[in-house]
Symmetry: C2
Subunit: 383 residues, 2 copies
């Protein structure tokens, strides 16, 4: 089943490598801990509930969430929806950026279309890859109820100055929601120190966990309205959704095996963080330098990228065609197109062509990136 | 980690036994098919997308959904929310039953509280365990936009006459949503023949799959509004959610390992259906008969139950206390309380006491149920 001869450069979509400890945690959960957590009082259910509780603690510690709640969802998109619809108020104003993924833009545009909110979308300051705290401050209104910032762009790897924006949000008591899909696991995060009120995670990316789990971490004191309603295992006599976190946002049976994997994924990440980050930076730095030497190549990787991502185009070719050629002729998996981030491509002027994104992972070697460099060289020669 | 000395009688909450083929499918997915389906055009992503597509076909075939869509969600509750919020219209009227789980009741009560819908809740005809098609017909109004029926009660195992209700719904062109959480895998379902427009599944129950996956099967022609918005891997330039199923209701990364398990789970279920159902019926029939012989026992199991569930109380004890005693003194896991079905307990007159539910599974033996019978006998003697 494994196409093991392929070189996988799509780790920003999902990390292909899942550590044995992560797979082991899923297996153990399926074999020995299959009871339903938080639904019954018997020992097997309590054992599973303990595992889930442990995962909440581990996630909170990993993110520097000293006092608050960890909510488990299907994926990062559902976590973002829970945060956005949870906090939004009619007549509110939301500030965000053009770097956002459709998981942020589509809920916001739906709210705007429905006349619920007004929206300000900031673009990076000319000549840089980031929006500034000053821009956020200038965009702020009396009715601003939320600021949403994509920590690391899934298109260019651009890093936003979260701490500075966090300070501004704190100054005006506006909740700050950070989309950590591409950052958690790759840069250190301390929600408290950075002034983040809500943070969403895609554990199947930087934490090397399975697909099927998302996280919304919420600081204490924020009140979020449920978007989905159902059984919570609490206050069962009530025909209305309980409003206490995390249950209020967690309806129905939890994805226990994926939650179990978080404990192992965080442990693995903490152990490999330093070496993995250094390697990813070296790999992408080398690749970018080599690609720059090839005529007809345009690089889009942000100058402040922490590594792991190389974004480029070849003059005269559509990004999807480049991705197809790399896949079919060179056994290299990259992602062309728009990466579900339309406004970022509008900003970069690549709405027509898209961009080729090569995103490296734990198993990527210099041999692998050399294959990519050689392949791109060949393709440009053959145009 | 395994408390293997425990007798697990909470299979209605989640089946504890996961077949090796199901665990194997999850493992294979994690090891060899970790790419993101539907997000890139490269071979590894396409391979995963093929697996997901295969699961949609298998689910559709298994349910007799000839023409329609299979939507993957976090769990059955999210599937029900997708269906309810997807179809509801302001000023609409919804018919449902007192047998429903909070996964149906809480969304409906929220819609009612918001002035969006009016609600009719039917109770079983006196002396039976089911509502009739005639009751549905009498409750129907011009503005009725949905009928929701719990196929099999999670409290008593009561089976509702879906085909008859389906005929009535078809006659008046009212969509019928069936909550199949407790039925799929335990009784044959043919959505076409039974007149079911939408069916929800909890694969971690009757299909012996992992927790972390739900299914909404929708017949062709029904239009459902999204409740959650985000990237779909389709029409990425659009800042609005695409309206085409299944993508419109599937935002963000899918739970691929759990989806992979569906293929194995359905195969396993088909192979073991006949023997497993016979065994479950024999076990619960025997247990009910024996418990009935004990003084002070009240049985709540429905007379039309297809088996696998035994619901009872012991006079003078709260159901939660009985469950605790069974767990602590006899190593037997049952579920006391309200099972997230408050109106069913109101109907049964057990809102105060709750009910003890023993739900059997693939690994349950006559030795196991004899342990339960003996334990109950002891408890009643010691009151």
């Amino acid at each position: 089943m494994c196409l093991s001869f392929m070189i996988y450069f799509d780790n920003s979509a999902t990390t292909f490598y899942k550590p044995p400890s992560v797979i082991g945690a899923v297996n153990s959960s399926l074999k020995y801990l299959s009871a339903n957590p938080g639904r019954s009082g018997h020992s097997l259910s309590l054992k599973t509930a303990t595992l889930v509780h442990k995962a909440r603690i581990n996630v909170a510690n990993f993110l520097g969430l000293e006092c608050g709640n960890v909510v488990f969802t299907l994926n990062c998109t559902h976590a973002l929806n829970s945060a956005i619809f949870g906090i939004v108020k009619k007549g509110g104003h939301i500030i965000t950026t053009c770097l956002e993924h459709n998981s942020v833009l589509r809920p916001l545009y739906e709210l705007k279309r429905g006349g619920i909110i007004d929206l300000t979308i900031l673009s990076p300051v000319s000549g840089t890859d980031f929006v500034t705290a000053k821009q956020v401050e200038l965009a702020k209104r009396q009715e601003t109820c939320l600021v949403i910032i994509n920590h690391i762009s899934n298109v260019t790897g651009a890093v936003q100055p979260i701490s500075e924006i966090g300070s501004i949000c704190k100054k005006y008591a506006i909740p700050l929601l950070v989309d950590g899909a591409q950052s958690v696991g790759y840069v250190d995060i301390d929600m408290g120190a950075m002034g983040i009120d809500m943070l969403t995670i895609a554990p199947h990316k930087g934490l090397h966990c399975p697909q099927g789990i998302g996280v919304l971490a919420v600081r204490e004191g924020l009140s979020l309205k449920p978007r989905i309603y159902g059984g919570t295992g609490t206050d069962s006599l009530s025909l209305y959704q309980p409003l206490e976190l995390p249950e209020s946002l967690e309806c129905g049976t939890l994805p226990t095996p994926a939650i179990a994997s978080l404990n192992a994924g965080i442990k693995w990440t903490l152990k490999h963080t330093h070496s993995n980050r250094e390697k990813l930076f070296a790999l992408s730095d080398f690749t970018t330098s080599e690609l720059k030497k090839i005529s007809g190549i345009k690089i889009y990787t942000a100058t402040n990228s922490v590594g792991g991502i190389v974004s480029f185009n070849i003059k005269g070719l559509h990004s999807m065609d480049i991705a197809d050629i790399l896949n079919n002729d060179y056994n290299i998996c990259v992602r062309g197109g728009l990466h579900c981030a339309p406004l970022m491509h509008k900003f970069l002027g690549t709405m027509e062509s898209g961009i080729v994104r090569a995103s490296f992972g734990f198993e990527t070697t210099f041999g692998d990136v050399n294959s990519l460099i050689k392949a791109v060289r060949n393709i440009t020669h053959n145009i």
